[in-house]
């Protein structure tokens, strides 16, 4: 006998079902409470349409993604080599790890005043904040990946007479890649989280700005919620994108297969 959750397509159908029920509950709750301010799903949908008509939606999404691309991109370019270096070279790890671990728990939000002081109200401020937020998880995962390397792989590689460069290229990097990608995925989530927060304060465009502006400029809660929904959907897409990378053979060996 086949159990019901063996049905094909269920992993796609179930989340849609949950979303539909949530919308219904939301709609019902707003109707029953007769709230003037809090919008129902229909008003939010109209809000999104309004933003699209004005061209603001695309403009703000592009603005936010632009900042994430830069901040996150620089974090990847700095964090991976730096992390690999820390993981491989013990004295560097001893030297830098305590500072890293002390900086890491400071919320990027706490850096906002300094970011404005240093970069003013410009794109550089949120980019800096996104960089800060994402560089730590990437660095830590890259250095941990190298440190977790099974010694037997290194010994085998040494036995075959590999030089330093070859050892790095053919053993250390490929062995560390799955764990590095996991760090990158976490970092991208954090980066997206931070761009919104940064835009609420440091700039006047982007999805975070949209939310704060909609509230301040006329208590347009339909646009506030519309902004939140768009942020969520883009976050979901970004995660799915990185998950696609996890299917490449270069890294898929490192994850438990489903």
């Amino acid at each position: 006998m086949r159990r019901w959750f063996g049905l094909p397509g269920l992993p796609m159908i179930l989340p849609c079902l949950v979303a539909a029920v949530s919308l219904l509950v939301w709609d019902l709750a707003v109707r029953l409470s007769r709230s003037d301010l809090f919008p129902g799903p229909w008003q939010v949908a109209l809000g999104i349409v309004e933003l699209m008509r004005k061209g603001l939606l695309i403009k703000y999404i592009v603005a936010s993604l632009y900042r994430v691309t830069w901040g996150f991109g620089i974090a990847v370019l700095v964090g991976i080599p730096f992390g690999l270096f820390l993981g491989w070279f013990r004295p560097a790890y001893w030297a830098f790890n305590p500072i890293l671990q002390a900086l890491r728990p400071i919320s990027p939000i706490a850096w906002i005043p300094l970011a404005i002081l240093w970069f003013g109200v410009s794109d550089a401020a949120p980019i800096f904040l996104i960089f800060l937020a994402s560089v730590f998880p990437i660095t830590v995962s890259a250095s941990a990946a190298v440190q977790n390397l099974q010694p037997v792989y290194l010994r085998a590689a040494r036995n075959f007479g590999l030089g330093r460069v070859q050892l790095f290229r053919r053993v250390i990097l490929p062995a560390a890649l799955p764990q590095i990608l996991t760090g990158v995925r976490i970092a991208l989530g954090v980066a997206w989280l931070v761009v919104v927060a940064a835009e609420m304060i440091a700039v006047n465009s982007g999805l975070g700005y949209l939310i704060i502006d909609a509230r301040n400029a006329g208590k347009r809660y339909d646009l506030v919620v519309a902004g939140m929904l768009v942020i969520g959907l883009i976050g979901l897409s970004l995660d799915l994108l990185v998950r696609r990378l996890e299917r490449f053979e270069e890294v898929s060996w490192g994850y438990a297969s489903h």
């Binding site: 792989y153 085998a156 036995n159 075959f160 590999l162 053993v171 062995a175 053979e249 490192g254």
Partner: protein, 268 residues
């Protein structure tokens, strides 16, 4: 001019010579230092199949790691091909107990890993040859996680052979395999050893495995490990595991380890 002594037979030349080797691990927190190996003298001749057998934790893996160049002994020396050992060397490939096959490479890429020089076509030919020899045809593009434990050990053996070493150092390579797989792996290893004419130094805790494989069995005792005796096994291959010669060699090893070969009781 005096008559020089002619070159001794190839097979008599020791390729690995271990002299008065000691290994001591410093004790932790004031406890005494532990001698893991005490006064080891042994040799392996060219083309020979030598097994080191001893109880678990007796230091035989440590000994093989020293001979492989991965560990420095506290005292004594290892001479390989007439020269003091410098470190790991592609002419002598180690096969690891815990499995050293790279999980990020396919079977084919693993086997070709140690072929650092030469054109791609030549490398492919070597890989094909050893894929064939260890019986992994059709699995060239598979990843190690898709293979059984026995097949993974075949990949590691093929990878070692493809680098064309003079000797293989094997550290309990079949220890994690089930009985029947081990049995098959042993007979395949003997076949490959005969075809490739490599020197093999093979560590095991399994006395039957040692007698089935080796020309000579070096028997080690418990900590601190010293060599109790060396048993010659001059039996033709394939070996008859019920023959008198086989059983005699087996009994000799059991006795040297202080175990009654029929009852299993210790009489140390």
């Amino acid at each position: 001019m005096s008559e020089t002594v002619g070159e001794s037979r190839e097979s008599d030349r020791p390729v690995v010579l271990v002299r008065d080797l000691w290994m001591t691990y410093a004790g932790r927190r004031g406890s005494e230092a532990v001698n893991v190996l005490e006064q080891i003298d042994m040799e392996v001749r060219k083309g020979e199949f030598v097994c080191i057998v001893g109880p678990s934790g007796c230091g035989k893996t440590t000994l093989l790691n020293i001979i492989g160049g991965f560990l420095k002994p506290t005292r004594g020396e290892v001479v390989v091909d007439g020269e003091p050992l410098q470190g790991p060397d592609p002419r002598r490939i180690f096969i690891f107990q815990e499995g050293g096959v790279f999980p990020w490479l396919t079977v084919g890429d693993n086997i070709g890993f140690g072929i650092l020089r030469g054109r791609k076509a030549d490398r492919d030919r070597v890989v094909d040859r050893y894929v064939e020899m260890v019986g992994l045809n059709g699995f060239e593009r598979a990843y190690p996680r898709e293979l059984s434990g026995g097949m993974r050990q075949r990949v590691e053996l093929a990878r070692a052979l493809a680098a064309n070493p003079e000797a293989l150092y094997m550290d309990e390579p079949f220890g994690a395999l089930d009985y029947i797989t081990r049995f098959k792996m042993r007979s395949d290893l003997v076949r490959i050893w005969q075809a490739e004419q490599k020197t093999i130094l093979f560590v095991t805790h399994d006395i039957d495995e040692a007698v089935q494989l080796a020309d000579r069995v070096i028997v080690m005792g418990r900590r601190p490990a010293t060599i109790r005796t060396v048993v010659d096994v001059p039996l033709p291959r394939p070996r008859d595991f019920q023959s008198a010669g086989y059983l005699a060699a087996r009994d000799q090893i059991f006795s040297a380890m202080g175990i009654n070969p029929t009852t299993g009781s210790e009489f140390s």
